[in-house]
Amino acid sequence: MESKTKRVLALETDFSDDVMPVFLSMVEKTALAFGMDEKYAMHLTLAAEEVFSYLSTVSDTHDPVRIECVNGGYYVQVNLLFSPRQLNLQAFNLTADIDPNDETRIHDIGLLIAARLVDHIQFVMNPGRNMCLCLYKEKSYPMGTALGPLQNTNTQIVKIETPSAEDLKMFCQRVLSAYSLDDYPAFIAYPGKFVDMVNSRDYEAALAYDEQKNILGGIVWQQVKGKTANFYGPFLFAEILDCEAKLLEFCLEKVGRSDSPGIMNRLAFAGRFDKYFEILGSTRDYQADGSVHQHTFIYRQLIEDLGTRVLAHPQLMDFLKTEYDRLYLPRNLQASTWMGEKSEEHSVFTADFSRSQVTLRALLGGRDAEDNLANHLRLFAHEGIKNIFFELDLGESWQSELVPALQNNQFIPCLLMPYAGKGDVVLFQHQAGEVR
């Protein structure tokens, strides 16, 4: 498998008006050079234009900005690094509804447009350091077609190894034929994209082969520096003794000596992995036809947990205590209460869509959090989305303030994911699906 480090094209300049055409040309040309098609390159360029234009209005002309175009293999990312300013991040809420006649917020429309032209917008705020605004857009790929079942299943596993690009594509196609849509991550449906994801080293995979080099199964995992890793599978195409265990152990040996504190599977086949994993809990997946599927989350730590302090809202304490005790997680749990300190006016939530579900995360807390959440829920209801989640990061103590807003909007804590963010993450599920 070819391996590449991510290529970066960078420009260091300022927010002068005459820089804009150079910047836009850079984004468009590099997106094309990095393999993005014209339509998506144009979307990315338009998003970049809106963001740069907005930043120009809130910055001094001579404020420095560093612009990076990153080739992630299957995506192109544009990073703008600049000094923190009083940005109105509220405009990045999916529900932002800005009146074009309101001259005080006219520039914010651009941010909203940008948010809808790319797959993700991410802010990285380092106190006392630069702020980074990242525009992330994936390239387009053709959908894979399902391959028929494995012909000769009277075989045995010979080797587990990291596969070639061709084998990866074949693996994806076998998964498409052997598993239902709920059992694999969306990217598996795009074999070419998955090859690029592995090439970019964002994802890794291992396949089990027999003597004839038939693919008997495989496992996929993803590590994000310092955070809990994710894995998918093992996917098996034949009933082979120990194939599942061998794939799992191969994956665990690979991630075992890394900085990932744990590894998790959000699409686990319940009950099959008790020997290796702990069950975190499950979510309910409400289907369009009215049926409900359960997704079980399994997890194991890769390190010896050293213990940490957790500050949480009093309304969440019972849930956390139960989960920490059940999972034997060493946590010094302390209640965090609001004591009149000043808080921001506006909250900002990001929304990640995947198939029929959406996951909200907080970018900023604010006094309008409850209303803001309610607005999001109205939008999702209008779109017919029933599977709505909120990830609350206990490593960001300010997020505990959001608990009443969540509970007042019928979000229920359903499971705890250790070290899945800056700290442990509580996954809330909205009860929308229960309403018939």
Binding site: L81, N130, R257, F277, E278, R300, I303, L306, L327
Partner: protein
């Protein structure tokens, strides 16, 4: 300094390397896990502590001496070791634990583009030092828990500088006998440095176990590591050493940081060497408690890897890290083996009977 400028100063191999986070001190762990006692069975320390004479000199250490630099090259200790092993004192380098001498050797011989070869499931520090110094670590899978001689030899290329063998291996306790080690050294034929880490050699009573230091005359490319942290119970003072041929050690000395070994460690180590009864006493305890563990683990239906050394590896029917947390809540601290690339295994340090009983009771309760 901005995040950007810091980023630009950091070499790629450091950016991609993950820091090792050691465990917290006992009082913190007890608080987090809610246990009143803690049996530390995770670091292969000697529960009997240092030999009595070493204990005595530690007790008598006069505080004013803390203001005075130690011997920069552990002069008397090297003299003593040279006499013990019939070497020249310049054939020995003492470091702040064996971990430091690993660094000396890699720094002395490797440059950009070079590689080292070792096993995938062994003491991790050879691999770590190579990687965070910018060199490739080629990891050869163990074969039935043993270092794979052929596998290691086939990994050698023109840029291979050092081969690391842990003998007996931590955590499997397997070892190469004299014949196998000599055969390997004959195959390498002086083209690379061969390091044999004998951190646990004093725990091995098998007759065919090789004394690496006795082979240095025959194989000038051989370097042997020893430590005072295990059998000699001086882990808290950090002291270890290497021995090799004069020419090789003279090269390593150039990459050696002097004055890194404190006075107390040097003096305690000097006296520790004079107490063969301490070794016998420790080995009696290890033997008795291994027999107990063998019996009890078998009764519990657990498979285990029990070979040389003061440790045993046990395979659990649940995640080792989950077992770690459950055992910690009962005051028993073991080493999880996922980080050693042995998922679901734990490593247990042999300790006095009370601790071994607590472990067995803990396992019975959690499994």
């Amino acid at each position: 300094m901005t995040a950007d400028s810091l980023e630009r100063l950091v070499p790629c191999y450091i950016k991609s390397f993950d820091a090792y986070i050691p465990s917290k001190p006992d009082p913190e762990l007890k608080q987090f896990f809610g246990c009143s006692t803690l049996y530390r069975l995770n670091n292969n320390e000697n529960p009997l502590g240092p030999p009595p004479a070493a204990q005595e000199i530690i007790k008598q250490f006069a505080p004013y001496r803390a203001a005075v630099y130690p011997s920069g090259d552990s002069y008397y200790l090297r003299e003593k070791l040279a006499e013990k092993f019939q070497l020249h004192s310049d054939q020995i380098l003492v470091g702040n634990g064996a971990n430091e001498v690993i660094t000396f050797v890699i720094k002395a011989f490797c440059e950009a583009g070079d590689n080292i070869v070792t096993a995938d499931k062994t003491f991790a520090v050879y691999e770590w030092v190579a990687i965070f110094s910018g060199y490739e670590a080629r990891l050869v899978p163990l074969k039935d828990f043993y270092f794979d001689e052929d596998g290691m030899l086939t990994q050698i290329d023109a840029r291979t500088k050092i081969l690391f063998i842990c003998n007996p291996n931590n955590p499997t306790g397997t070892y190469w006998n004299r014949e196998k080690l000599c055969h390997f050294l004959d195959q390498v034929d002086g083209r690379q440095i061969v390091v044999v880490d004998e951190a646990y050699c004093e725990f091995v009573e098998k007759e065919d176990f090789p004394d690496g230091i006795s082979l240095i005359d025959r194989y000038p490319n051989l370097i042997v590591f020893r430590t005072f942290s295990k059998m000699y119970g001086l882990a808290g003072l950090r002291i270890g050493y290497l021995a090799g041929s004069l020419d090789v050690v003279n090269i390593i000395r150039r990459a050696c940081v002097v004055y890194s070994v404190n006075t107390l460690a040097q003096e305690a180590a000097l006296l520790a060497l004079d107490d063969p009864e301490h070794i016998a006493r420790t080995n009696r305890l290890v033997k008795e408690e291994k027999a107990y563990l063998h019996r009890e683990l078998t009764r519990l239906g657990l498979s285990f890897v029990m070979n040389e050394g003061n440790f045993v590896m046990v395979k659990l029917p649940i995640s080792d890290t989950f077992a770690y947390r459950k055992l910690m809540s009962r005051g028993v601290m073991v080493r999880t083996m996922t980080g050693f690339r042995y998922p679901n295994y734990i490593r247990i340090t042999i300790a006095p009977h009370e601790a071994m009983e607590a472990l067995i009771q803990g396992l019975e309760a959690i499994l």
